[in-house]
């Protein structure tokens, strides 16, 4: 999830633990995708693996920056300069997380929407990255973009489940749906910080479903 100050204080440590879980789950998916790519030697698997690689990288960055900030916040007697530095680090950590996560989602979108043309791929990357880069409301833009990309991916996963009718395809669909709903709640975060914790719980449930596909045979 995102750095502090968005959710309630009591959720801070759980937030970091959730991020570690998201990191491990996406790393497992990336590893599996890579092994499938080596087995089939097919471009689709490479695109899938690259997408999840960036998502894993985003969670790694977020976990490390959140952990650092959480440990720093335990210290007392901060000077104003130190507080400002922490805020800058928080902002930078979130910003990098957002860019990496969006790049990962765009790769998945390219795969699922079967985008072939290089120019269209470049356009998609440019649109999401510059939307975040040039926005004054980085977090809101990120939540909205993520929700939109997830929605398109969800439609394709729904079609996949309808075609295959397999339990694991349903689990992946439910998992992504839960993550999508979590992102939608984050868009409405201005209403109450409690939504952040609820979104975190939904995302956790989503990744548990996805992890389930890797461990259940």
């Amino acid at each position: 999830m995102v750095v502090t100050a968005l959710g309630p204080d009591w959720f801070l440590e759980a937030d970091v633990l959730f991020d570690v879980f998201f990191l491990l789950t996406t790393a497992l998916v990336t590893t599996m995708g890579w092994r499938a790519y080596k087995f089939f030697d097919e471009e689709r698997y490479k695109t899938f693996t690259t997408g999840f690689f960036f998502i894993t990288g985003s969670y790694l960055l977020l976990t490390l920056s959140n952990l650092f900030i959480m440990l720093e916040l335990r210290e007392a007697d901060y000077s104003l300069r130190e507080v400002v530095s922490l805020i800058n680090l928080t902002t930078m950590g979130f910003f990098l997380y957002a860019v990496l996560f969006l790049i990962g989602l765009v790769y998945l979108l390219i795969l699922y929407m079967k985008v072939e043309q290089r120019a269209v791929k470049l356009l998609l990357f440019a649109l999401v990255i510059f939307s975040v880069l040039l926005s004054h409301q980085v977090k809101s833009v990120f939540f909205v973009l993520t929700a939109m990309l997830l929605l398109f991916i969800l439609v394709q996963l729904g079609a996949n489940y309808r075609a295959k009718r397999k339990r694991n395809a349903l689990l992946v669909l439910i998992g992504f749906a839960a993550v999508f709903v979590g992102e939608v709640l984050l868009v409405a975060l201005f209403l109450t910080p409690m939504l952040y914790a609820i979104a975190g719980g939904l995302t956790l449930f989503g990744y548990l479903c996805i992890l389930g596909t890797l461990v259940i045979r």
Binding site: F48, Q156, N168, L171
Partner: protein, 89 residues
């Protein structure tokens, strides 16, 4: 031919042998694998060189046998196909 299609063909051949109980006569394999004679021969030669099939006897007649390596390949193929189906790749 793209490598993935090749992987599918290899898996189909090995699955046919597995479903026949781990060994199969050449004519039965030709019939069930849905390949031309030349194509099947090419694949079988490759699979024998790769150690996934061996030539032996079944009921006194020549037959192809699935090796441990062949069984391993099929296990991996199923695993990655399940993963692929789950994520819609």
């Amino acid at each position: 031919m793209k490598k993935r299609e090749r992987t599918e063909v290899v898996a189909d051949i090995l699955l046919v042998v597995q479903q026949a109980g781990g060994s199969i006569k050449p004519t039965h394999l030709l019939y069930k694998a849905n390949l031309s004679h030349d194509a099947l021969k090419r694949y079988v030669d490759e699979l024998e060189k790769g150690g996934m099939l061996t030539t032996g006897e079944k009921n006194g007649k020549r037959a192809y046998h699935l090796t441990d390596k062949g069984y391993d390949f099929l296990a991996k193929y199923r695993q990655f196909r399940d993963f692929s189906d789950a994520f819609g790749i």
